[in-house]
Each structure stands twice: as C-alpha cells, then as structure tokens.
C-alpha cells in the first residue's frame, strides 16, 4: 500500500485515543507530589495544544508553558527592518517563507512593502529562488532565511546549489537560530523586576522536526546537567498527549531522562548528512538577539566568512542599520516566552494587540503563544 498523507495524521487525531490518554494522565497525575509545568519549546506544539483544546483535558496540577520556538515571533524588529529595507532597494526581489510577510517592523511589514511596490515573494521551498533568479537575471534575489534547525538544511542546500551552478544573482540574509541554546537561557532566566529566578519550567516537550535533523542528542544535557526531563514529541494531538503522559510517568517514577515519543522518525543522532551540510556553510555567531528575550549566546548562525560574497548583510551593509529596537513597553512577550506569564495576563492582549495589529512578538505569527490564545482560547 502506498503511503498517503492521511496515514501521517489520521490515527493521531483519533478522539477515543486522545480521551484514553486524558484518562491515563488524570489518573497518574493524582500520584504527583507537586504540580508540574511543562514547556513546549516549539510554536508548532503551542498551535496544536490550543487548536485541539488540550489544556481542557489536563488535570489542575499539569500546566502548559509556552516556549519561544516560532521563527517569526523571535525575529527582532531591526532584522525585520533589514528585510523591509532590502526589499525596497532598486532591482531587488526579496524572497522569504510564508508568515514572515506579515510581521511588522518599524517601517511596516513586508506586506506593506509589497503594497508600496516592492517585489516581495513567499516560497514553499528555498529552491524556488533558483527559478526566480534565472527568470530575473537583471535583478538580485535575496533569500531572507528564517527558522530553527528544521529549515536550516534547506537554506544550506540552496547555498550549495548557488555555488555549484555559479548562479550570479542570489544573496542570503541569514536568521537561522538554534533550540538548545535558548532553552539554557530560559532555565537560567532571571526575573529582572524582582531580581530572582522564578521561571517555573519543570520539564520540556521537545519538537520532533528539529530532532529529525539534529537528533535527540541536542537535549542530552538537560536531564543530566539541568535536572529537566525532555520528551521529544510529534505534533499531532495524540503525540502531544502521549508525550505529556511520558513526562508525568518520569516524575512519578522519580526519573529524569531524555525520551523520544516520536520514534517513528527521530533517533539520537539525527540526519548526519544534513548536519554536515550545515557545518560546511554556516557557523555560530556570538550573540543573536531574540525578540522579547534579548541577546542569547551562540543561538544564531551566519554564513562562514569564505562565503561572505553571498551574504546580503555584507553586500548591503551600507544601508542596513545596526541599532537594536526595543519592544513596546507594555508588551510582556519576554515574560511569556520565559514561562513567567500567560498571554491573558498582558494588559494589551486582545485589545490593542491582536493578530491584525500585533504589538508584541507572540502575536505576530499564527504559531505565537498570544496568537494561539487569541484564536483558539480567548474565552474558553
């Protein structure tokens, strides 16, 4: 039998299975000594949790905390301004992925740039840039690359092809970031308002697609060095419910381990070819500024110096400002991303700050915690 898309999700949304897991979790949770707060690192998980109403199935002593893993949400305003400024340059076609077009910078979003006449296009795969470049030889195609470990290999493949095929008119603006470094930052988070460590992260639900590339090994240190269990979990509701159940069981049995729920694709080592490809073209940068979270050491990537001729940040350095732009004063996205607050605790949530007029990072993409609360959980 040929594998159809249906096989990839159908059983993983089965109502009876979800209910059965809810019962197991409720039964097990009675044995917990303390409540547990589970951070889903990835915005995809946040989206699933809210869309399928999973918090409604959780007992009182199990709580979801929403992590920073949305590539669009974490983009600081100054880098969105880069995209906007590059798009407005003469003879430039700015290409990026889906949701990025909607995020507002200080001049507006890429959607606004397009309305003002800029040539902004979104693609489903970075490789589409090659055709755009070949069809527009008199223009520069700049790929504004975003995303975590999941999308980085696709950008690396495009870099490789541009070099191999000697394509003269594709440049890159690299905004790839990495998950483990920001998890460390979150564990070490200090609440600046009261000068104490008060984040409440007891365990992590790790995103499966990141580990398809990087393997589960990137989380080895969290149980070992930080005392936080990690379960690498898929994105369907049954996957998430099973992942939660596995975390609860670890607490009952007083274990603290790295486990894989999504065994159907993820292993400890990951995709070594993809990792090699990334290492060929990219290197870590000392600091990457995350919207809402600030500078996080070694959490971002850049093109290696030998490929600087492909780097739009180098080629267009004269027009790209370097100054950091702070978030709106009333926005508490930083606290939300650190697990210190929930979206409805923000005074501008759902009033000034809405998906159509986002102020903070968590509202800008459909995968942000605030956007998910607004869309799926605003009253229930």
């Amino acid at each position: 039998m040929a594998l159809e898309l249906k096989n990839l999700y159908d059983d993983f949304r089965d109502g009876e299975t979800i209910k059965a897991y809810a019962e197991i979790i409720a039964k097990d949770a009675k044995k917990l000594k303390n409540p547990i707060n589970i951070m889903e690192v990835c915005g995809g998980h946040t989206h699933t949790i809210m869309k399928f109403g999973l918090p409604q199935l959780m007992p009182d002593n199990i709580n979801f905390i929403h992590g920073p893993g949305c590539p669009v949400c974490i983009m600081p305003k100054e880098r969105i301004d880069h995209a906007y400024i590059l798009a407005m340059q003469p003879d430039v076609i700015l290409v990026t992925l889906g949701d990025m077009i909607k995020v507002p910078g200080s001049h507006g979003s890429l959607q606004d740039a397009r309305a003002k006449g800029a040539d902004v296009r979104f693609v489903y795969s970075p490789m589409e840039c090659i055709k755009i470049a070949q069809d527009n030889l008199n223009k520069k195609v700049i790929f504004f690359a975003i995303g975590f470990e999941t999308t980085t290999p696709m950008t690396a493949v495009l870099v490789e092809q541009v070099i191999k095929q000697k394509i003269p008119n594709i440049l890159f603006h690299i905004n790839h970031v990495t998950v483990p470094e920001v998890m460390v930052e979150l564990i070490d988070s200090r609440d600046v308002h009261v000068d104490s460590y008060n984040n409440r992260i007891d365990a992590f639900l790790g995103p499966s697609h990141v580990s398809v590339i990087s393997g589960s090994k990137i989380y080895d240190k969290f149980p070992k060095d930080y005392g936080r269990p990690v379960v690498v979990s898929g994105f369907e509701p049954v996957d998430v419910m099973q992942g939660i159940s596995m975390i609860v069981k670890q607490f009952i049995e007083e274990r603290c381990e790295l486990e894989i729920q999504y065994k159907r694709v993820v292993n400890h080592e990951g995709n070594l070819n993809a990792q090699k490809l990334i290492d060929t073209y990219f290197e870590k940068i000392d600091l990457f500024r995350w919207r809402g979270l600030g500078n996080v050491p070694e959490s971002g990537l850049k093109l290696k110096d030998e490929f600087a001729f492909l780097d739009a940040e180098v080629v267009y350095k004269n027009v790209l400002p370097l100054a950091e732009i702070e978030d709106h004063k009333l926005c508490i996205c930083g606290d939300i991303l650190r697990g210190m607050a929930k979206p409805p605790e923000c005074t501008i949530f759902g009033t000034v700050c809405k998906p159509t007029t986002p102020i903070g990072s968590c509202m800008v993409s459909s995968e942000g915690a605030c956007a998910a609360y607004y869309k799926y959980g605003n009253l229930l």
Binding site: G15, Q111, Y124, E128, T151, S366
Partner: protein, 330 residues
C-alpha cells in the same frame, strides 16, 4: 484602518469586513446595502441584484476556469437569496497580448454555465489595457434574478435551528493552492465550482422552509458561520467531526497549515432550517452530493460566536479568518 490596502483586505475575513464597513458602507449607506446580504433585494422583494469581479490565478484549473467562476459566482449570489438568475452583464478587462483562443475558451465556458442557470448575458463591456496593468484577464459580472423564496436572511436564525452544508468543504481553495506555481502537487482534486440554483430549486420544490442560505466563498465556512452568528445574535455550535472534508483537501491543509473550513469554495453553501426540516433537507441535498451533512445547531450559549466541539470533548471558538492565507513555516 491601515494607511494602504494590502492583499489581506480582500480575504473575505476580518480585514475585508473592516475595509467595507469603514470606507464603502460609510459613504454608500442605505437601507438595502446595510442588510449586507449576498444580493440586494429590490422592487418590493421581487428581484435580487448583485455584482462580482473575478481575478483568479491560474485562469484555468482542475474542474473550472475564470469564466465558469464568473457566471457561477454571480448566479450563486442570486440563488442564495432564493432567486432564479435571469439577466447577466459581462465586463472584461484584458491584458495586451492575451491569447484570443484562451479568451474564446473562457467565453464558451461562461455560455455553458449560463445554460445551467437558464440566464442570458444582456449587456457587456470590453477594455484592453497595456501589458502589466492587469494580471491577464479580469471579469466582472452583474446579475438580476427573480425571487422565488422570500425572506431568506442571515439575521433570521433562532435557537434550535439546524445548520447543514451542501457538500464537502475547501476543495476550490485546495485545488487553486495545489495548482499554484511553486507547489505543483500531483492531485486528482477538482474545484467544487458549480451553479447552485438547481440545488436551491430542489429544496424549494420539496417545500423546505429556507431560513438562511449562503455560499461559502472567500473566508470559507468559518466566515459564513461567524456572519450568521453575529447578524442573528446567536451561538452556532458545530460538531467538528461532522464537517465533511475530502482526504486530499485534508492532506493539502496539513502540508500548508490551513484549515479546510477557512478555504474558499465556489459551489458549496451553508443552509439553516428549522429542526423539523433537517432530515428532509439533508435528503434533498444528498441527491446532488452524498457528502452533504448536518453540521450543527443554533443555541444561546455564546451569542455572536461560533463554537467548535471536538470528538474528544474539548471546545474552541471558530474565528473569522484573518490576514492573507499564507502557508505556515514549519
């Protein structure tokens, strides 16, 4: 309102509503327009009158083309007011360099669809503009229909009524996405693009009392249900598992991060009837599409809202789609 118009202002969802309310309704306000129905009811309720423009890309797609859409769209707006489509105008704006062969194919396709509705084109206009001024071809159609079932209205829903959908949802939107450059999916999916008057006539002939009727075009089923909940100040409760969606549509939604109920349809309508009419209405609808279904009921739980109930006991609100429909990143 934002200072400039973006693609999102044409999405059939929240931004589109804002644009219409704050610019067009503000200046054009009158009693007929403010009813905000699919077609204006004029001449003491005898006639329905509507207009629509079509700017789809690609022009030809599986199961239809822009010409078929241009006739279906306007005729369906009339049918949704219980009117039989009669007279249509056809206005085209053509980009310099467009193939006459393709133009004739499109006009022939319009003729076929007019025959299904029993309508005729009685007036038209042609403009040709320099290359780059429009994307190949835009068509506007305006239609007049004779009302055969009076008092169909989005504001007439009351507690206890049933909500039905005429067939599986989201196929048009999914077909267009699958055909777009950059995706090029292999798919046997066909648009649902079709004239709805024959189905509406079948409901009327079966003496079904139609309370509300609306084709779920841009903004999809979500937009229609939200508009009804707001217009009638009721809660519409939907059983998510009862919404019919083809497997291929589900697959495309999974890949791109969409929900089928947000996707555009061109031959699918939502129907509200009294509870006692629901099975009879379902029977009539299923003669055309076996996938038609009873999807929900009108209650007073959260007035002005649409509530989606899952098969595992959770609830969430179904919102109006917002923004440009863009694929998720991961």
């Amino acid at each position: 309102m934002t200072k400039t118009i973006t693609i999102a202002h044409g999405n059939g969802g929240a931004e589109n509503n804002e644009l219409i309310q704050k610019i067009f309704y503000k200046h054009f306000a009158n009693d007929i327009l403010s009813k905000s129905e699919d077609a204006a009811v004029i001449e003491d309720g005898r006639l329905a009158f509507t207009t629509d423009s079509f700017t789809v890309s690609p022009l030809f797609f599986s199961g239809g083309d822009i010409g078929k859409l241009a006739v279906c769209g306007t005729c369906n707006d009339l049918a949704m007011m219980g009117a039989k489509p009669k007279y249509i105008t056809c206005s085209v704006i053509i980009e310099e360099g467009f193939s006459t062969r393709d133009l004739e194919k499109i006009v022939k396709s319009m003729k076929n669809e007019l025959e299904i509705n029993g309508a005729i084109v009685v007036s038209g206009d042609t403009k040709v503009v320099p290359r780059g001024s429009v994307d190949k071809l835009f068509i506007n159609t305006t239609g007049i229909g004779e009302i055969e079932h009076k008092n169909i209205s989005a504001s007439a829903l009351t507690e206890g009524m049933s909500i039905l959908v005429s067939r599986d949802v989201g196929t048009h939107g999914a077909t267009i996405f699958a055909a777009r450059e950059g995706i090029e999916l292999e798919s046997s999916l066909k648009t649902d693009c079709a004239s709805l008057y024959p189905q509406v006539k079948a409901l009327m002939d079966a003496n079904i009392k139609i309370i509300a009727l609306r084709d779920a075009t841009r903004g999809g089923v979500s937009a229609v249900l939200n508009e009804w909940a707001r217009s009638s100040d009721v809660c519409i409760e939907i059983k998510e598992e009862n919404i019919p969606v083809q497997e291929e549509v589900k697959g495309i939604c999974e890949m791109l991060g969409f929900e089928a109920i947000d996707l555009a349809n061109e031959g699918t309508f939502i129907l509200a009837v009294d509870k006692e009419d629901e099975l009879h209405a379902l029977d009539v609808l299923q003669k055309t599409h076996v996938t038609s279904a009873i999807i929900g009921t009108v209650t007073a739980l959260y007035k002005g809202k649409v509530l989606l109930n899952s098969s595992w006991g959770t609830k969430r609100f179904l919102d109006l789609p917002t923004g440009e429909l863009l694929p998720r990143i991961c």
